[in-house]
Amino acid sequence: MVAPILEFRNIFKSFAMTAALSDMSLAVVPGEIHAIVGENGAGKSTLIKIMTGVYQPDSGEILHEGKPVTIRNTYGAQALGVAAIYQEPMVFPDLDVAENIFISHRNLGAFMNWSKLYQSSDELIARLGVTLDVRRAASGLTLAEQQTVEIARALSLNVKVLIMDEPTASLSAHEVERLLSIAKALKARSVAVLYISHRLDEIFRIADRVTVLRDGKHISTKPIADVTHDGMVKDMVGRALDKFATKTRANEHGALLLSVKNLALDGVFRNVSFDLHKGEVLCFAGLIGSRRTDVGLALFGIAPATQGRIELDGQSVTISTPQQAMERGIAYVSEDRRKLGLAMTLPIYANISLPSLKKFLRRLGIIDRSAENAMAESYRERLSIRSPDVKIDVGKLSGGNQQKVMLAKWLETKPRLLIFDEPTRGVDVGAKAEVHNIIRDLAKQGVAVLVISSDLPEVMALADRVLVMREGEQKGIFDISDCSQERVIALATGQDAEASAA
């Protein structure tokens, strides 16, 4: 085997009291795509941040081409030829593409030579096999184009180790293809690619070796040929995954609650039509970026639709603010807990009572604190939110418990229609099952539930009916009894269209 370019030996790193990495050893080899998998919190991002000099290890050794090194900061990492691209690309919107690519260079002379800069950028972009106007300001680029800029930036620095952290999470199907081919091209140029992804199918397609992390520990590193899908998952979760029971038949449901006809928002989504009954679970499936969330936001009045009709109980309604949506019994549980879901520095009770605060107001708008507290306590018990009391800041809870607080917050509004966006993202396996049970209970009580999920097994376990979207368009809606993972994937990725075209 070729000598490793970068090697971790017995690295330990902890924050406050929790160990993020313990006894981590890993060797990165040139000309290889090395996949790293693990659940959220397994230590992947800590590992990357140590490689790029953002964090310093508490103990252990880092070897670069066999020599011990200390990576003090991003610049130090660059000097060793280590660069990273992230799920959310780091570009400078006010600078043009060429300048974005060469921003980290220090030995190009004191003055900008714009024509030379454009020429070299053009060459770099061409080497990646893509077309991109290097004179454009980066503010107008799509996510995929921004990633291309970042990869070109890494290439321009003569990168030897390129870390790709969930690069495909927000890309459309053909953008994913392009990214994977870029990764292969880098490999052919003897770059070591560290590929971090939740999408196991991608890993089987491009990786040479796979390393599994769990709870900050190195579990296994194997050539891809020796790995099976189930074995990898077992390594990740530490046991064979209890497969969620796949639903084969829809549950009984009540009367029609919501009827959506030809809903569209200019330039975002179009042609969305479905019915939703009381006690029914409808799942929106599709790839990330297929605009499912935007449909949810339109129903909740955040970004109202520009065309089409929404009928509630058979009556046409307009929903143009969240307040109007909430008055009609609609709740929306966001996929982005941190930015849109919870006020992290406020206590649990204040977060739960927020949308239904009116209920707890007494004379002169004074909050009835004991009633508020009792309500929050009841949810802590009912949803088994693990926290000593409800006065703790939600930011201090684990992801799963935060998710339950967010759910409690909306359950307290007693919704008739609950829109649940990525209900189990960043939630561990145990909490996942709990959240699923809560959703099933709600449906049993007659709440209409609309789940937006990118997790197919989750869709198969929860849905009575499935609606598939691709690139802003509804591609199909069918009963769970007619549904299979293969059929959803075909619709979501557009393989059906290709197949029929061919």
Binding site: S334, L340, A343, T345, S353, L361, L364
Partner: protein, 320 residues
């Protein structure tokens, strides 16, 4: 978070006690009732506006135009009275002017969504400019006797009207901020305006109310200022925004919003007043007093920052 706040407020209380003790030890007349009332009276307009500013900053905004609104209200009052408007009606009109000025700020901030720093900086210049247009470079005095008395003399017991208004506002606004649903919404918006919007909070409305509150309270304070000095000039209350913001930030209100309490601001007001009073009694000039307040302002943010950094460095070492 609660413990942290408590310790900040505890620290303020400690500083306050030390300031009072030192002042009392050095200056014999310090603890007399009259000196204590004077101490409030000399900055009464600023501390009243500081209460409204507390809401604005907890809401993660800032209002740099308060002193200009104070000046504008005072000058408008002067011009109205000079032209024969009864003082009572002039007072009402000036308060309405304060509402309008606040609403104008709010329109740009809450609905057009331009940062409050920029909007109120422009309005600081513009409102002050209008005050200058009104009075050019002359002063107006000759207000009705009762108006001057309200600003200067005891109104209720030994308390002048201004102090009375401050105490009432302190209690009322304290209750609103810490006990009502509206106060809760102010904190949530300050923590994350997006989370608030996604929870059905009418963010723009809350911000509008706060800037109108700030405008009307500033106008009221401007009138008190006119009464206290029994005259107005175009530069009335100019530069007060610095002192006002300092009092609020020193009180533990985070410039990034979402954190702070009325009690903390009260403590910091008392500290600032006592410091100024003590320095004045020790014959230290107003400019040096302002400088000391300026240093306090920077320290009130720098201190916790440095403490946090050394703490995190310490914990890093401990685990190594």
């Amino acid at each position: 978070m609660l413990a942290k706040l408590k310790s900040w407020e505890g620290l303020l209380l400690l500083i306050l006690i030390v300031t009072v003790l030192v002042n009392a030890a050095i200056v014999p007349q310090f603890l007399t009732m009259q000196n204590q009332i004077n101490l409030f009276q000399l900055s009464i307009e600023k501390i009243i506006v500081a209460l409204a500013m507390t809401f604005i900053i907890i809401n993660a905004e800032i209002d740099l135009s308060v002193a200009s609104i104070m000046g504008l209200a005072a000058c408008t009052f002067g011009v109205l009275v000079e032209n024969g408007t009864p003082a009572g009606i002039a007072i009402m009109l000036c308060l309405i002017l304060g509402v309008l000025a606040g609403a104008f700020n709010a329109f740009w901030i809450a609905y057009v969504k331009i940062p409050s720093l920029v909007v109120t900086l422009a309005m600081l210049i513009m409102y002050r400019g209008i005050a200058r247009v009104l009075l050019e470079d002359r002063g107006i005095n000759g207000f009705p006797q009762w108006f001057g008395d309200l600003g200067q003399k005891a109104f209720l017991g030994p308390f002048p009207l201004g102090l009375f208004i401050f105490l009432v506002l302190l209690v009322v606004l304290g209750l609103v901020l810490h006990r009502t649903g509206f106060g809760r919404e102010v904190y949530v918006i300050g923590t994350s305006a997006e989370v608030a919007r996604f929870s059905g909070v009418r963010v723009a409305r809350v911000k509008t109310i706060l800037f109108i509150l700030s405008g009307v309270v500033s106008a009221l304070a401007g009138l008190l200022y006119a009464g206290r000095l029994a005259s107005v000039r175009g530069d009335a209350a100019s530069g007060f925004e610095l002192d006002i913001i300092t009092m609020v930030l020193l009180g533990g209100v985070s410039i990034f919003g979402g954190r702070g309490s009325i009690i903390g601001v009260l403590f910091s007001i008392l500290i600032v007043l006592n410091l100024r009073n003590g320095m004045a009694l020790m014959n230290i000039t107003g400019h040096i007093q302002t400088a000391v307040i300026g240093v306090l302002l920077i320290m009130s943010v720098l201190g916790p920052n440095l403490a946090e950094r050394t703490k995190s460095l310490g914990s890093g070492k401990a685990t190594a």
